[in-house]
Subunit: 222 residues, 2 copies
Amino acid sequence: MTPGVDINIGLLDDNDALATANRARLDRAGARCVNLMSSPGSGKTTLLEATVAALDGDLRLAVIEGDMTTELDADRLRARGVPVAAITTGRSCHLEADQVADGLDRLGSLDRFDLVVIENVGNLICPAAYELGEHARVVLVAVTEGEDKPLKYPIMFHGADCVVVTKLDLAPYLKLDIERLKANIQEVNPRAAVLALSAETGAGMTDWLSWLRGQAPTTEPA
Amino acid sequence: MTPGVDINIGLLDDNDALATANRARLDRAGARCVNLMSSPGSGKTTLLEATVAALDGDLRLAVIEGDMTTELDADRLRARGVPVAAITTGRSCHLEADQVADGLDRLGSLDRFDLVVIENVGNLICPAAYELGEHARVVLVAVTEGEDKPLKYPIMFHGADCVVVTKLDLAPYLKLDIERLKANIQEVNPRAAVLALSAETGAGMTDWLSWLRGQAPTTEPA
């Protein structure tokens, strides 16, 4: 189906141009942007809730929340006092740069924020193909998903700047070799930071917060 | 992006025609086909391994195994003595009917089988849009994924004939209201059979095997 492929490449070019514009807009405001991706149920929203609680205002966060149909996740974060722009994608399996541009519009003046976190639609495949204007990509994989996911979904893991192994508190109840999981991540992507944590118990959260603080701008905006 | 949408509808029409041909071919052979879908790591392959062990030859099973890049899951099922046709989809996020037609070719004479199970690519969104020629759709959701997934990914759950809640052995370690999860499934899809099981402990397997036996042909092929 060569025609379809060509058309998709054209659409991706348009998307990438919009993504570049989003990034420039964030840069001008002195804000950085992280694109958070994973399967459904790997714990993206739970990690964000725990992050907001642990940061306790230390970084000025905003969230662009992508979901197919509901604002359930957006509401969980709003309840924590975080500014959230919710985007419902309908039948679509990923966020695109034009939707993020709309989300940035709705967040208002971006110089109020150090970090804009995009919580992408739960999907370990399609979101990897779409630049959104982020400065860094974080991929979550829960211990409950097994050791083999980096090998089976390599495109997503290959593009990550940071891979966070979540639900560490459940590891004792699983036949899981966590070192094997980490080795599989590093086989697919040797440059990614690899962290492991439990948002439930707080184990490993310090390393995550440290990584996240490292993404925030260190100087005042120009 | 209306042109893209129209093109996709055209491609789906082509896919559906091939799916109808797949179904007719299975019907002629007296075999039935189940399309197994879920997020990555919900336990599709583990459930199939446990199913093969529990059936102990009672149904003549074959598997068409969809994965992006590896044959890891196919090899796990081959190790159980099941005929498997492995399809690697490359960058694609779902199986299509032409790939299943190729898988049926590779399984050889279909009248040797009562049930052909298609294990789709791990993705709770995109596979729902593609008819493959199956007679029934099964969607898995692990207890670790949370109560809200049916509401957040309604298209997949809406199309299911049977929803299987997996990893029941982990429920005691989670803040999960399993009755709420079941109610959310039934809200999105009142006609689906809803089962809950642990392939690890065997709890709930009897109901699953009974549902699966109910899918197999009851009469000899014409």
